[in-house]
Subunit: 253 residues, 2 copies
């Protein structure tokens, strides 16, 4: 079996934003679906791991788009494993047109956790799992790795929301991409008009949140186009700071 | 060209709910995408109409699922035009497995409106449009047509939300399926547990809403499994009743 999977995807009209560009929700879910399908075809998808009481959880995701494809564009979403080390695996992605035009790249870091205890497994010592034949470090992913996003302060509080049915995915926690949707909704329409869009996203997943949790969103502007966002659960003001679920950097342009 | 289009779709893992069933958001958008792709291939898609200053808007949507397909199921989403009359066209859908097993059916009613004035066009008199060769009334769609949903009262008020970037689609209004997502989020997790799910949805789209509108949701229980939901904009309590955007019937089971 090849090391890389290439999934053809068309930018369908109702998967676009108001500017007829592919929306980030569909983009993000397409990456996660490609990752899971790649793992499944090689014997270490979530369903196979669930039989062994493990599942994959996303620890970090970085997406950088040179250009956002327009409605009806025919895309190839490619994914491969860059490396495996200790508790984590690095998986990369490219989003290109059928003719090879690059739209963007993505990097992700995953941990395999015990479904019950939510504790991570030592990937290099997983019995019966053969990741090595699929390692593909030589395949280029020419975007910078994510930096560290600083913690945000109570002064940066914007709003809170209660998680609901549509936030939850097959892992029974708030879906990784739903956090992105909630973060993007912090910005006014002007951030997405006149050719402007989210260009680069770095997100670190630090703790899971579940159905019924109240999420509080914090935002700090770094420069004209760059914002840091943090999402905490159980935040009730300066006295009860809650637990940080995700921390992210968003660059517009 | 055939009268019917059949689109193969796989239930991808991150397009499911917490029970690993295809989620209604993806189901609904798959129907709209199939509809638009069918129309486009025959010369009357939104992009072609936009050139002529018209676009399609959904007036009614009824979806009834015998069974909700599980993750990795290979589906065929089929769509065809049942009829065209005066200001509306009836378009139907089936959702089946590759082996023919029926998962569900859907009925929809669309109007073609002027992009600027938002007024509907007389479909039978549209110059240069040839719908007739594609009419397919003999193809069965064995689910009941939608009934009338009664107006809800102020006593049925549940909550309000402000529409944001992720609510808006290429028609620059709140997406038809996002209303469904907001309605489904009115119900607690128990409505979707122990094999229970939304089984039948009837929704009437009565007025458009836009970015920044405040939507207010009303819900009334009809019987153990049946609920009526209404969404209004500009509702500020009994004195300012606002404008009804959608009215829906949801049957669980």
């Amino acid at each position: 079996m090849r090391k890389i999977d290439v999934t053809p995807i068309v930018v369908d009209p109702f998967n676009t934003d108001f500017q007829q560009r592919w929306n980030w929700t569909t983009l993000g879910k397409s990456l996660l679906n490609a990752a899971e399908n790649h793992a499944k075809a090689r014997g270490f998808g979530m369903m196979e791991l669930n039989g062994n009481h493990y599942t994959w959880v996303l620890a970090r995701l970085t997406i950088e788009m040179v250009n956002m494809p327009m409605v009806y564009t025919k895309l190839n979403v490619s994914t491969w494993i860059e490396s495996i080390y200790s508790l984590f695996t690095n998986r990369n992605f490219s989003i290109t047109a059928a003719d090879g035009t690059v739209y963007g790249y993505a990097r992700s870091v995953w941990a395999m956790i015990d479904y019950e205890t939510r504790q991570p497994a030592q990937l290099e010592q997983m019995e019966g799992q053969a990741f090595e034949p699929y390692l593909f470090p030589e395949q280029p992913c020419p975007i910078e790795k994510a930096g560290r996003v600083r913690p945000l302060s109570d002064d940066n509080y914007v709003c809170s929301l209660d998680t609901r049915y549509s936030d939850i995915d097959m892992n029974s926690h708030v879906n990784s991409i739903k956090y992105v949707e909630h973060m993007m909704d912090l910005f006014p329409m002007e951030a997405y008009q006149n050719g402007r869009n989210l260009r680069r996203l770095e997100i670190a997943y630090m703790a899971e949140s579940y159905y019924g949790d109240r999420l509080s969103l914090f935002r700090r502007q770094v420069d004209e186009d760059t914002f840091e966002v943090e999402i905490r659960k159980d935040y009730e003001g300066p006295d009860t700071k809650g637990k940080t679920c995700v921390r992210a950097l968003l660059k517009f342009g």
